[in-house]
Symmetry: C2
Subunit: 360 residues, 2 copies
Amino acid sequence: MEIDAGKQIGELGERALLRHLRARIPSGEGVLVGVGDDAAAIATGPLTLITTDALVEDTHFKLEWTPPRLLGRKALSINISDLAAMGGVPRQAVVSLCLRPELTLQFLDALYDGLLERAAEAGLSIVGGNLASTSGPIVVDVTVLGLGDELLRRKGARPGDRIVVTGALGAAAAGLRLLAEGARLDADGALTGTGLWTESSRIPVEHCLRAQLDPAPPWVLGRALAEQKLAHAAMDLSDGLSGDLLSLCEDSEVAALVDPSALPIDAHAASLTRARGGDSLGLALHGGEDYQLLLAVAPGAVPQVAELASMWEIALADVGEFVAGQAGVALRGKDGVRPLRPRAYDHFLSKSGKGMTPAP
Amino acid sequence: MEIDAGKQIGELGERALLRHLRARIPSGEGVLVGVGDDAAAIATGPLTLITTDALVEDTHFKLEWTPPRLLGRKALSINISDLAAMGGVPRQAVVSLCLRPELTLQFLDALYDGLLERAAEAGLSIVGGNLASTSGPIVVDVTVLGLGDELLRRKGARPGDRIVVTGALGAAAAGLRLLAEGARLDADGALTGTGLWTESSRIPVEHCLRAQLDPAPPWVLGRALAEQKLAHAAMDLSDGLSGDLLSLCEDSEVAALVDPSALPIDAHAASLTRARGGDSLGLALHGGEDYQLLLAVAPGAVPQVAELASMWEIALADVGEFVAGQAGVALRGKDGVRPLRPRAYDHFLSKSGKGMTPAP
């Protein structure tokens, strides 16, 4: 039965919505029972990885900045990133939504367009979920399961290991600032407005908005590194390098010395930041939401890791060294060593959505 | 490090909170990596069951009615109920919370007291989670994983099967109404106020409040029924018998004839409802949140199911018959057959928390 996409989900009712979603969600390999029963049943190996992360309106996203399709994609991507950082292969997801009754079926369908697309790209199946009504912020809460055997832990970094980072840093944080300045993407990820910026900045603006709204974690690399035992420790960069590296140091009981000149600052983010007279180093250190991998790699293994990464065209940067000492992060520049305090997003330190303010 | 329990979680910050929770959550059997890394790693069998359900403030509970310890217990119980209704054994859970920064550590700790207690009772381990800040309703979103081999599906009921229900119905819905009338439990589940009712009603009031705030699904029975292949179909009663039975009929492509005189109406709920001149049959049919099992059982197998249930002192009622025909539910009384329309809680049909109104 075709339902009018403009209808409010509160008018349709949970029963009709669940029936509608059930018809949209394909089954997948190893899914014995998918959505629609009391629980899903899936084929699993001896070791299963599980992670959960949520996107909460006005804490992690603003509705007017975020096409629902991209919201769906990101909700899966951030979980895939966590799973890959443990060396796992994402296989299944459950999606728990809190939605206001006045949202339309069109909104829900677009959100699921993004979820289903991203699931297909990563080879995972959506096997269950929940729909709850809320009077407040939208919540897109995803739990991802995956296969694992060799694991990449946060603990395991050794003194002498190199600090290795994939991709480039700072674009997502720059994108957040651009959203606050009125720049926008449409549901297909195409630029519809440059906000405060002129048309000549289209390319860097679109690039940074995409990094913020539709992150692309290098998830295939995590599994390959784990299988080939090429990293001593790993985690994904979600809160910003300064805070995440401190977490890895705490778990591994080592210290980290970062060479600021080696940081892979995103070129587009850097160009925009330069144009506004800002600090692109700060953006790369504290920006957050990069969803890249942070690795501890034995010096001799760095070339192999680089070769592996290059197979998927994933950039790799050697940004410093783990050393013996109390857990902590310092910058080692020409003028000596200075401690780096984490200045990560901390959604709990803010009472008024400060988590949404652009990074410095 | 001891933290002042009166502190607001927004002052403490995510990093300190996660460290605090990590120290509180014990590891468990088969948990290779628990909370604290990018993902948890658990030992699994060839078949894993997974289910997710959330409690949303002002949709499913009101904070002033609900001690946080009981909220934690219920958030796990409703998921254990779903898993058991598939024939699974709950083993692990991940807990995703959306909390306002002004809530205290004491609140978070009490919520976790309930989660950890209930987890221990059911033999499951909390292996991961997420903490997000929200400006709106609290969300306690839980995903439970479990072992399965033989499954109990919603489909599989056959014409001629008996409609069998565990426990008693209507107490949770009666409890919801009592909460609206000012009756209250403390964190230990003891009665602190009878609301509109006199002291002479203490026992039924406390009983119904407990059914609402701290449901006890008969989860051991699900697994036993699955193993012994004693039920053709099963689901848990969460939305009310009228709606849930219709769902089971739809999935099984059968009709259901319910004998109203056979319904196991909760005696305490019935006494309170009689006292207010209400309709206790309606409460049992549409009340919701009973978290009992609804089963399709071959007539010859009913005594065996009853015997099995009696081992755990779980009451069992044979309330009618599945028949061939278009999916639907009807009441068969002395005066003939009349169709029963579902009048379940539907949180999406209400724009203003109508889901919280007491059932008729």
